[in-house]
């Protein structure tokens, strides 16, 4: 009797082990043939020989969350939904796109009469944008990320009246890379997705970006 019991138990143990192995195996060596692309891109490499030649069978890469600024409608939830307060999403200034406008749609409230740096004229609720004169008629705008709460007001203004050089991005040195991003589940535009950690930034007009800069961020590094 006891031996039969032990045998039965070992059988179940073996079964569990095999089940776990099967599960792991099926997830590690997932079919790379046809179907839906694991990268969600259309490179067409798969259509040539029926299986993907770009992605390894198993996923050794790490993934992080990415905000696609071309989908974002600046609803304001980035400021409120992040597990961090202030949010890990910040306004990022893509200088290469900026027109250095005097009347900056991202800096001034639409009804501003006199273009001075008075707080009542500023769109940003936390005065996180610094405006500095460069040469006539150009001004440079810098974001103090320690103040920015990621509300997207400036982004909306710049997108509506300017070049769209102010863009919301997850700042990856602040972000905890939650298993499910708390903003992603509330974003009305579905702007969030998981992407390989090696190219976490996506700038409108420039596409994927290589990493740069030290880990401190903030105004000093600009």
């Amino acid at each position: 009797m006891p031996t039969r019991r032990v045998f039965l138990q070992n059988l179940i143990r073996g079964g569990i082990l095999a089940g776990l192995g099967l599960l792991t195996g099926s997830l590690v060596f997932r079919s790379r043939k046809g179907g839906t692309c694991r990268l969600n891109i259309s490179c067409n490499a798969c259509s040539k020989n029926g299986s993907c030649t770009l992605v390894p069978a198993f996923e050794t890469r790490q993934f992080v969350w990415q905000l696609d600024p071309s989908k974002c409608i600046q609803c304001g939830r980035c400021a409120t939904e992040c597990v961090h307060t202030p949010s890990a999403v910040k306004c990022v200034h893509v200088y290469a796109m900026c027109g250095y406008c005097d009347l900056c749609g991202g800096y001034f409230k639409p009804d501003t009469k006199t273009l001075n740096t008075g707080a009542e004229n500023q769109l940003c609720p936390t005065s996180a944008i610094k405006r500095s004169f460069i040469e006539d008629p150009f001004f440079e705008y810098t974001i103090d990320e320690n103040l920015c709460i990621g509300c997207g007001k400036c982004v909306k203004g710049c997108g509506a009246f300017g070049n769209g050089s102010l863009q919301l991005q997850i700042r990856h040195h602040i972000c905890d890379n939650c298993n499910e991003c708390a903003i992603a589940r509330k974003c009305p535009a579905g702007a969030f997705s998981r992407v390989p950690a090696t190219s976490p930034y996506l700038l409108k007009g420039f596409g994927k970006q290589p990493l740069s800069g030290d880990k401190t961020g903030g105004p000093e590094s600009f």
Partner: protein
């Protein structure tokens, strides 16, 4: 300045005429004369990828250390210190976000959505604790899970819980697991992460609702030891099942139980099975009746549960973003609201055809119908198993840990006076 702003208004007009489109170079890039250097846009990266391998190594080392402490050293102190280390590392340092409990959802999503890439490390965080449990019992709960460690710290006045109440509350993890799998499989939400009461503590700056969850749980935890582990944890369900067949589970006594009853109240989680005297001999008829009742119970519970689950299809699906959007669009198209939600605005600006959303919503709704049946049947099955287990309780003469519920914390080992070859010698004198 004036020139510039006039240009601005002209462009604005043009823009309005052309219909708004983003990322157009409305203003040309300036040509600076003063030698101004355009700053670079800083893009600081995430944590180095190699650190994920470090996490994995820490997981395996911590699991090995606790298993050794529980099974070889039989030392509560050792288990405690490993669990404190895990609390600091996985809790406060990693801030709770690489976690075996939540990985259930990643694995489910990966099974149902082939486009979802599951990193090997996440898969490992799901599988490795299960394998350790198959060999050594729930040592993961004892000393690696930061949630458990956190709750252990506040369990000052654990009360014994009535076994019927305990069994009823014990059904909640099955419900939680079932819902988590349903919502993950349909790509709707990760509810384990959403309602995780601990990340609020680990990330001191979390929002109000998260901190509220945490406060409620920790306050409850003073009187009910490890309430999350026992009455909520969805991963605990898997650990519980597998631990029942564990190859080497911890024992209260190092040798033979002498029924001294010293350990009877030592387990804060009520996981010690107390010997039950054979109440009265069952007649054959009674036995047959019981078995018949049980065999009839299962189909009844499973079909009933499945039917009830399928009734909840719309309720469940209502959480899904696509279904929600489709509903909102339907309402707004019928009675043309003035104030449209952000969701509708975003949808309209994306230029996606309406029919596509309705089609997607229909597919998801159908998935929830099937999912509802499976979830209900699953809950029926587990309820049936619970009842059957209560009815067919085996006779047992010793004090033993319930292999499913025992968290291998090794507290009870300190209470047992029996000496065994694994006992440290200095304790011999006390006896």
């Amino acid at each position: 300045m004036f020139r510039k702003s006039r240009e601005f208004w002209l462009l604005l007009l043009l823009m309005l005429l052309a219909g708004s489109s983003f990322a157009i170079q409305r203003f040309p890039r300036p040509e600076f004369e003063t030698g101004y250097q355009q700053p670079e846009t800083m893009l600081p990266g995430p944590r180095a990828e190699i650190m994920a391998v470090v996490d994995l190594a820490v997981l395996i080392l911590a699991l090995s250390a606790v298993s050794w402490m529980v099974l070889k050293k039989r030392s509560r102190k050792g288990v405690f210190w490993v669990s404190m280390f895990s609390l600091v590392y996985f809790g406060f340092y990693r801030e709770g976000c690489i976690c075996a409990v939540g990985s259930v959802q990643n694995v489910t999503l990966a099974l149902f959505d082939p486009t979802y890439p599951i990193p090997l490390t996440v898969l490992a965080f799901f599988i490795i604790p299960l394998i350790f449990t198959l060999f050594f019992g729930r040592t993961f709960c004892a000393g690696v899970c930061p949630f458990g460690a956190m709750q252990d710290l506040v369990a000052f006045r654990p009360k014994t819980i009535n076994s019927k109440v305990d069994a009823a509350l014990g059904m909640m993890p099955y419900l939680y697991l079932g819902l988590a799998v349903l919502f993950a499989a349909t790509g709707t939400d990760f509810i384990i992460c959403r309602y995780d009461p601990f990340v609020g503590i680990f990330r001191i700056n979390a929002g109000f609702s998260m901190l509220l969850f945490a406060a409620i749980l920790l306050l409850t935890g003073i009187f009910i030891a490890r309430p999350y582990c026992r009455y909520l944890c969805p991963y605990g369900v898997l650990l519980n099942w597998i631990s029942r067949f564990s190859y080497r589970h911890m024992t209260i006594t190092p040798a033979e139980c002498i029924n001294c009853r010293l350990c009877e109240n030592s387990c804060p989680y009520g996981a010690i099975k107390i010997p039950n005297s054979v109440k009265y001999a069952e007649t054959r008829r009674q036995r047959v009746r019981k078995l018949m009742f049980i065999t009839l119970l299962f189909p009844f519970l499973m079909v009933g549960g499945g039917w009830a689950g399928s009734r909840l299809q719309e309720t469940f699906a209502g959480v899904n973003r696509t279904v929600k959007l489709a509903k909102e669009l339907l309402v707004s198209d019928q009675n043309g609201q003035d104030v449209e939600s952000f969701e509708i605005k975003a949808f309209r600006s994306s230029g996606k055809p309406l029919t596509e959303v309705y089609q997607e919503a229909r597919i998801i709704l159908h998935r929830f119908l099937i999912g509802g049946w499976i979830l209900g049947a699953f809950l029926g099955l587990t309820t049936g198993l619970m009842v059957a287990g209560k009815l067919l309780e085996n006779h047992q003469s010793d004090y033993v840990p319930d292999k499913g519920a025992c968290l291998s914390c090794a507290r009870c080992t300190d209470y047992c006076p029996v000496m065994g070859n694994t006992m440290p010698t200095e304790l011999n004198h006390k006896a």
